[in-house]
């Protein structure tokens, strides 16, 4: 390595370190001047706010900030995991529809993809939330599309192991429920991401040569059989890498929950920041958690990709 190259690198690293040092020293002075506490000691203190809904965990206002944040994390993971499954199913179906021989089916799915991809997700989330809370009837006149399943502006109620939903006063009790916030977020994330997944699936199937279809036909497979046994396994090689980034995007996009009031990690961290004033710690927690999730999904998908390529 030439001397000049070493000098460049030393200068670049020094500049970055200097900039970071400058910001840190400013921050420390500011914290002192404004008398903001630092450190993660607040995590053990009582949170004092309620959380609208939580998966698998019990939580009350008397619990600690740490527990509140964990509830938020579980809520994020729950909506992301269900969203990924729904988006993959819907997206794959629409992607295949776009290749269908049926003109009408092809046109509708193309229109769907174009519309969903060219409107901000946040607008779509607000739209779904308005659809659920404004156009669905009140609990007393809830729609019952399937026996035991009730759609109302209070959310979706359906039977579970704990029993079936029964109307009591102004709302249902018993059974399991999806709140309007969760339903809107899930619906928005799944339908939005499905638009992108459809394009990936379509490109993947198109990448498999026509000869493969013809060969499958020649050995007597029907079109669905050929798709299942010949084309999709080969298409997966093209599909998996971009699919990974869609899954990551969906998980990161679930942070838009804060805008419609679903208590995900970002929304609870935001409340925590507002109450404790400890912005740096709160944002550091958000970023660390998302980085960890991103890296984990990447690692899993890399492993899966290696398996598909084998």
């Amino acid at each position: 390595m030439k001397k000049r190259e070493i000098a460049y690198q030393v200068a670049a690293v020094a500049a970055v370190l200097f900039a970071i040092g400058y910001l840190v020293s400013n921050t420390l002075t500011n914290l002192e001047v404004r008398r903001i506490a630092s450190g993660f000691g607040f995590l053990g203190r009582e949170a004092g706010f309620e959380i609208g809904e939580s998966f698998f965990m019990r939580y009350g206002a008397a619990d600690s900030y740490l527990r509140a944040l964990v509830v938020g994390l579980v809520n994020t993971l729950a909506v992301a995991a269900i969203g990924i499954v729904l988006a993959t199913g819907l997206g794959t179906a629409i992607g295949l529809f776009r290749l269908s021989g049926n003109l009408l089916l092809r046109t509708i799915s193309t229109a769907y993809v174009e519309f969903v991809r060219n409107v901000p997700l946040l607008v779509q989330l607000f739209f779904w939330y308005a659809m659920i809370t404004e156009t669905l009837p009140v609990a007393r006149e809830a729609l019952e599309p399937l026996p035991g399943v009730f759609l109302s502006n209070r959310g979706i109620y359906f039977p579970s192991f704990s029993g079936t939903p029964v109307l009591q006063g102004f709302n249902f009790t018993g059974g399991a429920a999806l709140t309007p916030e969760f339903a809107a977020l899930l619906l928005g994330l799944a339908t939005y991401t499905a638009g992108f997944i459809a394009e990936i699936v379509r490109a993947g199937v198109l990448s498999v040569g026509r000869g493969q279809w013809e060969a499958a036909q020649a050995v007597g497979l029907t079109r669905p059989q050929a798709l299942r046994h010949v084309v999709l396994p080969q298409a997966l090689r093209v599909i998996v890498p971009p699919m990974t980034s869609q899954y990551l995007d969906l998980t990161k996009n679930s942070s838009l929950a804060v805008a419609i009031g679903y208590p995900d990690l970002v929304s609870i961290a935001n409340t925590t920041i507002n109450q404790t004033g400890q912005a740096i710690e709160g944002i550091a927690i958000i970023m660390l958690v998302y980085l960890t999730i991103s890296l984990t999904i990447s690692a899993f998908m890399n492993w899966y990709n290696a398996r598909v390529l084998r």
Binding site: L23, N102, L105, V123, K252, I273
Partner: protein, 332 residues
């Protein structure tokens, strides 16, 4: 044996019937039974959509809290800004003079929006809002993020390990976290970063977060363009005795950026959609003004109409960009 009705035509029939039903009920709701007058009572009584909401609030939705009698200024600025983009889409203008055109255009827009000169009333940027704010966040975001992204992409492809590590660290860090966390950081943490007594306003803070975010994503697209350049181009440039910067400016970048234009436009579309997230930190962009209008007691409960309208406006912008990018892809 030929079947009378094939599966395919049966499928067409079923879809056609369902589609017809959906379309008819949508047309009934959106046009036949709709209320177009800004009349809340009529809206609440009607079975159809209430477009009167938009008729009533369109000035606030388009221009936010900008002084009412000065609305012609953001209106002209909006038209100017859209015109600048349309002009830049034209290959005929892909010459150095485009930079001059932009400089003149942006100066004019700045004068119109801020005022304070030529007898225009001064309007501080806290009062800017509506569609023009969305367009400004987008335009300045692209204008600053794009050059930054070229530097980041070059750094990531550099042969110097320390430079490469810094670029990789930055790009992956930003791409690994949600935009919301960067916006929160800009709105609550950035004030702490600055020396005492120095403060920057909310709009600028959000703009900085958007620029830093977009740069990381654009850098990956530019890197894709750089990687597509065959090795012999580099070797030929070296053989001519060009230095690194001469080679990059005259040989590598012109080709790499040309290849990267279609994916760049897709990234721009994503960025345009992402500007709507500033609603979370309380800036009055186009989506925020719609949302705030719905808070007015007279107009609560018309969110479906309001957000359909919003979606349509965003769609027009994004779809135009995506058609353009597809057209380029065919021609390049």
């Amino acid at each position: 044996m030929r079947r009378f009705l094939s599966w395919n035509s049966l499928l067409t029939l079923v879809i056609a019937i369902v589609l017809l039903k959906v379309v008819i009920s949508f047309v009934d709701w959106a046009f036949v039974d709709a209320v177009w007058r800004p009349d809340t009572k009529a809206c609440r009584a009607a079975a159809g959509a209430c477009w009167g909401f938009i008729a009533d609030k369109h000035r606030f939705i388009l221009f936010g809290t900008y002084p009412f009698e000065e609305h012609w200024r953001p209106a002209i600025a909006t038209v100017l800004l859209v015109a600048l983009w349309v002009l830049s889409a034209w290959r005929y203008f892909w010459k150095p003079r485009l930079i001059v055109i932009w400089a003149v255009g942006l100066t004019l827009i700045g004068i119109l929006m801020w005022g304070g000169v030529f007898g225009l009333r001064a309007v501080e940027n806290e009062r800017w809002g509506g569609l023009i704010l969305t367009l400004i966040l987008f335009t300045f975001g692209v204008a600053f993020a794009f050059p930054l992204s070229i530097l980041l992409a070059l750094a990531r492809r550099s042969s110097l390990p320390a430079i490469r590590a810094l670029a990789v660290g930055y790009i992956e860090l930003v791409r690994g976290v949600p935009l919301i966390s960067l916006l929160f950081m800009a709105s609550v943490m950035l004030p702490l970063f600055l020396p005492e007594g120095v403060s920057i306003d909310k709009l600028l803070r959000a703009q900085i977060a958007l620029i830093l975010f977009a740069a990381a994503y654009l850098a990956e697209v530019v890197r894709g363009g750089l990687q597509a350049i065959p090795k012999d181009q580099y070797e030929a440039a070296d053989a001519l005795g060009l230095t690194y910067w001469q080679r990059t400016r005259a040989v590598v970048l012109p080709q790499a950026l040309r290849i990267a234009v279609p994916p760049l436009v897709s990234t721009f579309i994503g960025f345009f959609k992402n500007t709507s997230l500033v609603v979370v930190i309380g800036l009055f962009d186009f989506l925020s003004t719609v949302k705030v209008s719905l808070n007015e007691p007279a107009w609560t409960g018309f969110g479906v109409e309001a957000y359909l309208f919003t979606a349509l406006v965003y769609f027009v912008f994004c779809y135009a960009m995506s058609l353009y990018s597809r057209g380029l892809e065919r021609r390049l």
